[in-house]
Symmetry: C2
Subunit: 316 residues, 2 copies
């Protein structure tokens, strides 16, 4: 995608176009790009049967371009969608988490949307980096502990407040970055679980990724053109992660073969059906694990008998 | 693998070691490295049930380090193995094909082994680059036509002369390069067919790759330490190919994560069993295509009715 070529004309209205997407062989003016993003979002929701019209949605909001753009798009499409922000305590006072919370609050305030905030340190006595520093799981970097905290708290909040689905802002670059890592290691269990929608059940809320087929450059352009004021910084702990390494490798491939990321992802979704005998568009999280157990402490689902990973983390 | 660290000692004999393979956490002197290569080759042949003791083998020989090292190793392991060289007519007189043929002939002569040569231009009126220049299939580069010519002639020669298996020198770098390309495009048919051994039947000879788990650096070291005089040049048409591009990407990954190529390959072999319900170690080439037809002109197997791809190429 580029913002050059002033002589080129919008596919939809013949006006001067500023948004060129060679990966889709499309070119749009500002207005029609934004319209296309909404139409595509609606199309993906339907195509992958993410949730029915009228579903009560909870958006996982980080304050970055993806989650805020997704929340904006779903709101404009007429969905009933609240936001949930987890303050993870990253970067100390006036740091990454504080700034992200402000961006999320500002966004919600401007649109009159409901935003719920869970301040992890206040609620559970420790920030995520503090939890990580204390545990074997977090000894190298806090990302694994952070993922556990987010998955647990978001799922539980969505279930306890009766939402039909949790929606997350994962874009195509996120999805192929994870896919690439899972394929290089042939992590069949993780490949089985990677899909635009997870059906839910057995203590898991339904989860959907309506932006999973948008390039990161497209969600960034959406936020920019909508004037969404988002946090541009990556989480400080992401630097040097395998996911970023994988994304760089994929960026090299995409620059050699434009459209490669989308082919890789859509090819995978077709292959999933052959590999796992499922439709490739939905899967119950508990189902494939052969039945989940319940944590005796918190009542949430867990794979093994005894305390779940969350309770082991916060009440060791 | 490095040839440094003169202070380090061979794992097997405590002598000064010159061959260090961090990807296997092994270090050997010259003698024990060569011994290890032979033992590993024998182990892979048995592990993947490539062929039984006493099988009559035909080695596909290119004159490069992999095929000559393989032929040498099988000969030293006591296999009955002849060589087949296809002179493809690449590089004109005293060019790539001529030089490769000389290397193969010299190797066979020194060891008293039987080498058969098919001179493609003499036998079929055109060299492979000439065939490619004439056809749509070869319009960008001759590699696709060359692959067809090699697969057809080698298979036919092996069958007509009663060999039990055709062995090829594909090393780990070759296998993961192809695997990486097939995964990025999710070519499920090609993934299904990629294995250390293809069972044969229905007009196809059994095919085995005894070196499929050796790094390219290992086969190169084997050739060097055995004093095998091989052609170092790549085929001039390989430059800029997708396979070389993929190999470069994998070299970057391997330098970040030593042993990554072997994990990627062995993980795939395990995953194959889950994906395709086969053991991952053998597969009849005709079997999975749902039965082959026979070419009315040459009698060889073909997927569609009518002339096979080879006959269309040489008798259009």
């Amino acid at each position: 995608m580029t913002f050059r070529n002033p002589a080129m004309k919008c596919r939809a209205c013949e006006q001067r176009a500023s948004i060129h997407m060679p990966q889709h062989k499309l070119i749009f003016c500002r207005e029609h790009f934004l319209e296309w993003m909404l139409a595509q979002t609606a199309r993906f929701i339907k195509k992958y049967q993410m949730f029915p019209p009228g579903a009560r949605l909870l958006a996982a909001v980080s304050g970055g371009k993806d989650s805020l753009s997704l929340w904006d798009a779903l709101w404009r499409l007429g969905c009933a969608v609240d936001g949930l922000y987890l303050h993870l305590g990253i970067g100390g006072e006036a740091g990454y988490s504080d700034a992200s919370e402000q961006a999320a609050r500002r966004f919600a305030g401007e649109r009159g949307l409901a935003l719920y905030v869970i301040p992890v340190q206040q609620a559970y006595g420790e920030s995520v980096p503090q939890m990580a520093a204390r545990t074997h799981r977090g000894r190298l970097r806090p990302c694994s502990v952070c993922g556990l905290v987010k998955r647990y708290l978001m799922n539980r909040y969505a279930l306890e407040h009766g939402y039909d689905a949790l929606v997350t802002g994962h874009n195509l670059d996120d999805e192929v970055g994870v896919l690439y890592g899972n394929v290089l290691a042939w992590q069949m269990d993780l490949l089985r679980r990677q899909a635009p929608v997870l059906q839910g059940g057995e203590g898991f809320v339904r989860k959907a990724k309506p932006f999973c087929r948008f390039y990161e450059r497209e969600t960034a352009a959406y936020a920019l053109l909508r004037g969404i004021d988002y946090i541009e910084d990556e989480c400080p702990f992401a630097e040097g992660s395998t996911l970023l390494e994988n994304k760089e490798a994929l960026n090299r491939l995409e620059s050699l073969h434009p459209g490669m990321k989308l082919h890789f992802y859509s090819g995978f979704l077709n292959a999933r059906a052959q590999m796992f005998g499922s439709s490739g568009t939905g899967l119950a999280e508990g189902e494939e694990s052969g039945g989940m157990k319940r944590c005796p402490t918190c009542g949430q689902p867990t794979q093994a008998a005894g305390k779940c990973a969350w309770c082991k983390l916060v009440n060791p």
